[in-house]
């Protein structure tokens, strides 16, 4: 079969047999999982990172620190596929909870990226001069207010490229959610491929979509970085 025929077949299924609906749905799910995952991850990661930079001479911070260490060790120590399977087929049914696979995927992606982002965020927080914290405390702000208003904004500025990287990883990693039956880009193109017994064009198109997505994200990160670095420039 020549190349043109393959493309014809692909377009036929994509448009005439409503394949594009699946693709749009897959793209939507892929983005949903990655974005929701990133947001949950940033919240969890920031909390863990804050716990990890707390002064350690009291009991409560030590206990929290222990819990966070365990959390990070668990989510970094197992593959995401395993986490998906464990949550969807083992942990949630044991607790008697039934959730749609898309929701589970979002949650697991958030929990997983939280572990990674906590380490990124910790290095970001530690890259901010300790004087910033002292400056905030000296005018009567509490530890958490200073963290929220002064230290974390500067930390985020420093780690933005790495956070962008994490988002890219998340986008690409979504291709494993079909393990628990969530419909992402891979599922959509796999459907087209198996209907036409022809995988070359669908898979190449899928690769192209991922590349375009990643390029857009890199661009957005660059724009954000530029606007956040306002305070560094002399004007």
């Amino acid at each position: 079969m020549n190349f043109e025929a393959k493309i014809d077949k692909f377009i036929n299924i994509l448009i005439e047999q409503n394949g594009y609906v699946k693709v749009v749905e897959g793209l939507e799910n892929t983005l949903k999982i990655a974005i929701v995952g990133l947001v949950i991850g940033i919240v969890i990661g920031t909390l863990i990172a804050t716990v990890r930079v707390l002064p350690k001479y009291k009991v409560l911070p030590r206990i929290l620190n222990g819990i966070c260490s365990f959390y990070v060790a668990f989510f970094r120590g197992t593959p995401m596929v395993v986490q998906l399977l464990v949550f969807y087929y083992v942990a949630l049914p044991l607790m008697g909870i039934r959730l749609p696979s898309l929701t589970v995927a979002m949650a697991v992606f958030g929990l997983n990226s939280g572990a990674y982002i906590s380490e990124i965020m910790r290095s970001g927080i530690q890259s901010v001069d300790y004087g910033q914290m002292e400056g905030g405390r000296s005018v009567g702000l509490s530890f958490s207010t200073t963290m929220l208003k002064i230290v974390i904004p500067q930390a985020v500025k420093n780690i933005l490229p790495t956070l962008g990287n994490e988002f890219i990883v998340l986008i690409k990693e979504t291709s494993i959610v079909s393990f628990i039956g969530a419909a992402d880009l891979y599922v959509a193109f796999n459907y087209i491929g198996s209907n036409s017994y022809e995988f070359m064009v669908p898979y190449l198109t899928m690769a192209l979509i991922y590349i375009v997505l990643v390029c857009i994200i890199s661009l957005l990160v660059k724009i954000m970085e530029r606007s956040l670095h306002k305070s560094d420039r002399r004007n």
């Binding site: 001069d129 004087g131 000296s138 009567g140 702000l141 305070s231 560094d232």
Partner: protein, 264 residues
């Protein structure tokens, strides 16, 4: 105003402060000098619990703030601090630096007042957030005018010179209307040219009756502005006197040696 009783601080096994007793009264300008490693900075940082004292009491306006159960943030509002490295907030403009804490503190007081009004018959007047912000901005602009930097209100600290940064840091602490301001070597990180402008602001502050505790190596400033000079050596205060006698008639042998080296 501040009554320090037997203040001790150790880092691990190293005893940095070995029992400091000093009374700082309203309107005092106490200048702390001493060789490096004598514990001057640690002493100053203990006064607002930036370093938690290992032992002893710091009675500030009748409350022992060395007690870990005390909410230190409330008391730090009344104790300003100026650092060697300025520590301005890099992600905020100059005026935001000055307004930040007054606005946040006023807002949290406002929340408390609103909550109180809910349960009591006598309603206290509560300012709106808008009013709080406008007031803080006005106050900040007045302070900037005082140091001649009102045209720098909307720039970021990274665009200022060292001297300008330190002057902004001084008015940032002033914006909270503190009872006392602590200066931790405020001119040590500055170019020689810029030392003068910062000392000028401090002199003006002293003249206006502000209580100040200053750790510095500027002997000229100590002589001219200080109402009391304290010499620290190896974690204790070895001499404390008025400027004239302190420089003119030093008693302690280590102080004599120190002065002979710095007043050449």
């Amino acid at each position: 105003m501040i009554d320090v009783i037997n203040l001790r601080k150790s880092f691990g096994k190293v005893d940095v402060l070995k029992g400091i007793d000093i009374k700082i009264n309203k309107g005092d300008v106490v200048v702390v000098i001493g060789p490096s490693g004598s514990g001057k900075s640690t002493f100053l940082r203990c006064l607002n619990c930036m370093e938690d004292p290992t032992d002893g009491n710091i009675i500030f306006n009748g409350v022992d703030i060395a007690d870990p159960k005390v909410d230190i943030n409330i008391h730090r509002r009344r104790i300003g601090m100026v650092f060697q490295h300025f520590n301005l907030f890099n992600n905020k403009t100059v005026i935001e630096n000055i307004m930040l804490s007054p606005v946040l503190c006023a807002k949290s007081d406002r929340r408390k007042a609103v909550r109180k009004n809910l349960f009591s018959k006598e309603k206290q007047p509560v300012k709106s957030v808008k009013e709080i912000k406008a007031e803080a901005r006005e106050n900040a602009m007045a302070l900037l005018k005082r140091i001649g930097l009102e045209d720098k209100a909307d720039v970021y600290p990274s665009t200022l010179s060292g001297g300008q940064k330190q002057r902004v840091a001084i008015v940032r602490s002033l914006a909270m209307n503190p009872d006392v301001i602590l200066f931790d070597e405020p001119t040590s990180a500055l170019d020689p040219e810029m030392v003068g402008e910062v000392l000028e602001v401090m002199k003006e502050l002293a003249k206006s009756g502000m209580t100040m505790v200053v750790v510095t190596h500027e002997m000229g400033f100590a002589k001219e502005v200080g109402s009391r000079i304290v010499f620290m050596d190896e974690g204790v205060i070895t001499e404390e006197n008025n400027p004239a006698d302190f420089f003119g008639n030093p008693q302690n042998a280590r102080l004599k040696e120190f002065l002979s080296k710095v007043l050449m």
